[in-house]
Symmetry: D5
Subunit: 146 residues, 10 copies
């Protein structure tokens, strides 16, 4: 079994048993984005978390072990053509330089970490149409000079 087969089994079972990402989040005590990343093969879980996912979906030890393997992250199209995912690239194309300017003004030379990092996806209700809110929080890492 590899990560790809693990993902197929999980998605298939999840659909059949009608388990949601929210259910898996509750079961593991993690954010739904974070547990989805592990199930899709872009993150790893610890013993307790992996056991919780497998129990919730009633899967076997092979899946449980594979959930704990440190993954090779982020294989796929260089620029994805799926419209939902592409919008994240478009935001980087249109606002990337502006985010850089404002971050530098507030923090100095450095970056937002994408490792010591959390991400939430929330629904903001709005009479003119509900809104998707994505909140990214990453440690500021100042450039070290030496």
């Amino acid at each position: 079994m590899d990560k790809k087969q693990m993902t197929e089994i999980i998605l298939d079972t999840k659909m059949k048993k009608e388990v949601s990402w929210d259910d898996l989040a509750t079961a593991t005590g993690l954010n739904p984005v974070c547990v989805a990343a592990a199930c899709l093969g872009s993150a790893s879980l610890n013993d307790t978390e992996a056991a919780a996912v497998v129990k919730e979906l009633d899967l076997g030890i092979e899946v449980e072990k594979m959930l704990k393997v440190f993954p090779l992250k982020g294989e796929g199209q260089v620029v994805p053509s799926d419209p939902l995912i592409y919008r994240l690239f478009e935001i980087a194309y249109v606002y990337g330089a502006s985010i850089k300017e404002v971050t530098h003004e507030k923090f100095g030379d450095g970056i937002m970490s994408a490792i010591d990092f959390t991400l939430d996806v929330d629904k903001v209700e709005d009479p003119k149409g509900d809104r998707v809110q994505i909140t990214m929080t990453g440690k500021f890492l100042p450039y070290k000079k030496w």
Copy 2:
């Protein structure tokens, strides 16, 4: 004058006069990311906003006019190698599919708009190291069937 020359003049003057993005935000009533996007040539301003930028920086009518032109957005490297901007791509590579899963679970088939959209960059103070918080909020656009 084109957008590129406009940006050079603005950045040069901004550095010499020590005007910050926050100053320009206050002057225009806009978010600093939003006014930076306009000054960097990825967004347009209306009459009042353009006048405010030009007044704050003490620049001429040519710059003011150019700030109001609708821009060709987002030219540059397909995958930028600047570390701060690249992290936005890395987040999309590692968490893009998870964001898609969770958004679909919460909203159904559709996307977060990158047009009817706002973006804030904030500093979250933390004794273990300050954190950069990027909050994106976009209207959910459900796929229309016909």
Copy 3:
């Protein structure tokens, strides 16, 4: 079963039973382009629509379920070399900037939505040779400033 296998089964059955896209459009109450997009794995159907497709083609529950899954859209060649599909790219290369100019003149800064969007393919009879007419209608989304 995944979307790709679903498409293979549908196309195979469709050819053997000589069911047309128009038949599937009638059965579902959708536009033929829209129902084709779902059968080719670029869109999802609701319960009634999926049931109608499966009934028309006399297929099973697996296909029906898969038609309702929200798809990862648009995988393939970055610039397709099939002549019919390439022409859509050629039109964007040759007239994209002009469409941008005229749209901005009529609507201001913003875009045509590709999500809140419909598309028709029609035959326009013409003694000098029939013509293909593609009509795209998408909601205008003005750039929001914040």
Copy 4:
């Protein structure tokens, strides 16, 4: 003078004199998209049309001559990152195969010409938000066997 310089002069003058694409369309008897394509360097004009553009904008013989030169069409990014233009690529990614299926069903094996071709951009008023309508009409060219 080359096409690029011609475009710069035309856009500059057009902005200063506040001439619209609609004005140039009226002056030349062409569709605004078509005259914009010529002014942006993706199409050529005949003697009368070029003279009309130059007269409307009060420009010289050099621009007039250059408008009549047959252009090298469509140079730029392989996949443009400007959001408005990118949507045309997204439509081709998501619906290209469906357009192909439906076109083949209605016409047989062949393509829609992008040369013997017209394109309109219209505003469709709608209380829920105005809509952009793009209508493409191209001669059907059946594959010739030999």
Copy 5:
């Protein structure tokens, strides 16, 4: 069965039975390049032609049906590295702009159709070494203005 499997079966049988493209051309009344394009999956045949190919090679109904399906044309490397095929790209790199100049001089603004199009490959005997002659004939399509 898909186009790729169809091609494998045809090439395999063709080699075992020692049937040439010329034999298939005679059987179908088509040019050898044209019938090869259909067998390799880049063109479709009508009922009579498909039946003739299948009869000549003594294959079954599945292959016959698949030969009539309208193909997705031209998948492969963006720039093929096979030397024979690459030379066609090299000719376009070295002489493409010259062909454009001379075509425009003889015909005005427009293109040679690659759809209403025939192509012959002939052997021209020459004491200094035989020569390959490729003759392409396509309808001139003038750019339509509108």
Copy 6:
């Protein structure tokens, strides 16, 4: 002066003096495609030919010398988006493998040379619309084994 400047001067003068490629072909005794290739910087001329071009256009010694320099051939877009030039790539995508099959059947393993090679562009009059005929003739080069 480099090849690019040479080309600009030649094209500019050619337009002003209304000299055609046919005129330059007659003056040099070369095919119009061949002389255009030299003037566009993809081929070199000998002393007599360069002198003839320069005389016909009434240009100076600098241009004459530059026409004789052996060029770096074929710089530009990997896959050109100009519709006329792209059709040559499309023909290679759709028929390249078929041309390979038929050439191998007629000649054995080897290629058509693109160096010991001639190319003609002709107009074939046709009541249903004139046709562009491109005839390529290149020496067959058999693969040498050693």
Copy 7:
């Protein structure tokens, strides 16, 4: 069986039977590079040569036939990352323009054929470390003007 399967069988057998490329070269009367090219699927053999390879490795008629098929040459990475193969690309990047200059000075405008071509790999013993010597010899093909 296709070329890829043929190569797998040959390499597997070659390793098990400890047959060297030199042995296959002796058996066929060809250069080791040339016979390796055929076994790896980038060249074809004639009847005698294919029979000799198959006899030396004790393989069957399927492999023998496949060795005689004219191959689609050179599929793989655009720029290979294997260090040994990459060095050939590096040499072309660093010395390509110089080889072009010197070749033109010695021969005029034209190229070294890669078809009427031989290539040897030799070991040159050297007390400071043995050296790899690659000798390429190709017919000079002068550019033909027409």
Copy 8:
């Protein structure tokens, strides 16, 4: 002055003074390919060699200094479309894997150095057409294990 300007001056003077690469090779005691590499900006010269080039061409101290700067080597197209240079890539595509096999058989795991390396371009006279001979000799570098 940068390397690019240095190359322009050298090539311009070399053409005007009719100095050959062989002359520069004699003047410097280097191989013509090696001195051409330095003049084209892909290699550096030592004091004596740089002085000899500058003396032969009667150029100034700026060029002499720039010839001694260690260059950034090999900028240009990823896969060059100039036919002479492309042939080197084609050889690597078609024979790269075979060269690898034979080198490994003769030397073990390792590579031919492209740094401790020489390259000659020679003319081999042949009644059937002269041949270009390129001889590359590089130190074998065995993979070091540790």
Copy 9:
């Protein structure tokens, strides 16, 4: 069996038996990075080393043989999106030119060998957070002139 299957078997067994890279390093007398490279298919082992790996993991002769085959190194994404591996590319983007400058200043024109080369990954304990230390040591190869 090929290298890919070999790697799958080794990784699978390694996980099940809980053998570490350090264990395999001790067993073979090699650095953990070096033995990992062999097990992942990017390096080859000699007889003793391959036997030691196979003994430690209790695997068969097929794996042992395959570990000794000289590999095709480095297939994968042109720029990997896995964050840990990408950082190596980022370091080259940000500091590559500086490493070049300093190396040239210390050694003259030449490079660090990536073949006669060793690489260590060490943990440097630090109260503010442990640090990863990567030490690369490669023979300096001066550019040879000839």
Copy 10:
């Protein structure tokens, strides 16, 4: 003045005045790689450091100011063809996955920071040929789950 012009002036002056990176390192109290990165436009300096560079090279206030601007880092070729810089990519291609395995074994899931990071280039004298030693030390950043 922009970063590119700043770099040109610094490199030019540095060559004329024969100031080394070591001199600039001593003057600023930084590592030579670190100060070179700033001078080449990939890092920024603080007030004292920038003043020291400018004093050492006897340059003006414009350069000093520009050295303090936070740079857009790492623009250039996606995969550099300069042999010295390419070796860093080759090391990542050949050993990247192994470095990942060993890092994960020693530290768990996470990465080596390229921001909180130092890099030294040293000369290790060796009778068989001096060696380049590159030591990278970056903080280990464990993946945060949330």
